[in-house]
């Protein structure tokens, strides 16, 4: 396989996974044929690649939009208002948690030179960011959303528990939110999996 073909196979990652699975091999074959034809006709490599990249820019977003809509049947659809509300709450709480923990870490850790507070602040910030990731994945509805939510929620819980055990400096509210929201996420994702709502 030539370097150009390898490069094109990398570019194919711009398309959604299901589209690549369905047409990726054929597209790579067509790319190879077009490249040979371009070389034979005397078309410059720059002009050829410009055409290929333009084709990618015009077609990949459309496929991504189809995939996001679930139009290609490849996507996890968080059903119901509760799941959507939970996704939004998770993202908002995550932002709050990250800012709050950063502030607690900054004032308690750096300003007051308390190593425990600094550690708690870092763990709390990480937990908040993981909640944002979980909420965004749920809202985006990608096929991998359940596993992303599962990992992010578990990571958030672990960070909060670690902070509570080894550096108990986070506020009660931050600790509570950092435990309750990921637990809810885990319960709802598990329920949705059981309900066969995964594409």
């Amino acid at each position: 396989m030539s370097a150009a073909e390898r490069a094109y196979r990398l570019l194919l990652r711009c398309y959604p996974r299901r589209f690549r699975t369905e047409f990726g091999a054929e597209m790579a074959l067509l790319f190879r044929d077009q490249r040979l034809a371009a070389a034979t006709s005397g078309e410059s490599a720059a002009a050829f690649w410009r055409r290929i990249v333009w084709d990618l820019i015009r077609s990949a977003p459309r496929q991504r939009i189809d995939a996001l809509r679930g139009a290609d049947g490849s996507h996890f659809q968080p059903e119901g208002r509760v799941m959507k509300a939970l996704a939004i709450v998770s993202a908002l709480v995550g932002v709050f948690e990250a800012f709050n923990a950063s502030a607690e870490g900054w004032y308690g850790g750096i300003a007051a030179r308390d190593g425990y507070a600094l550690t708690a602040g870092a763990l709390g910030t990480l937990a908040g960011l993981l909640l944002v990731v979980a909420g965004a994945a749920l809202l985006r509805g990608a096929r991998s959303a359940p596993s992303i939510v599962h990992s992010a929620a578990a990571g958030c819980l672990a960070a909060i528990v670690l902070a509570a055990v080894f550096a108990p400096r986070l506020s009660v509210l931050a600790t509570l939110l950092g435990v309750v929201v990921p637990l809810l996420l885990l319960v709802f994702v598990r329920r949705d999996r059981a309900g066969a709502q995964l594409a």
Binding site: Y15, F19, E22, F23, E26, M27, A28, L29, L30, F31, D33, Q34, R51, I52, W54, D55, L56, R58, S59, A60, R62, Q63, A71, D72
Partner: protein, 123 residues
Amino acid sequence: MKQANHDPAPESYVPLPSASFHILVALVDGERHGYAIMQEVAERTDGSVRLGPGTLYGSLKRLLADGLVVEAGERAGTDAGEERRRYYRLTPLGLAVARAEARRLESMVRTARQKKLLGGRTA
């Protein structure tokens, strides 16, 4: 996306995106694989339309979903050592939609002629 199994009117699919119409026209003569479709379109348009892989297969995906085109199996070409390729075939609905789109375009061209936008002749 329209469902093919409800026998929708061919006119409900028009206007077609330009790439989709080119693909349907390329398949009127028989089954073709992706590169053959691309070549046919390029030759027919004197090279002014060159379908890239993303545009071609993105359009084929839509045409397959709408039931205008079906896969006609995978086979190697006549040349020795040629890879196996997936062939595509027009469905009766696809042919009807291509005709409906051609009629629509013909009507537009007729109007353009009447308005002397094309050579000043009437159809």
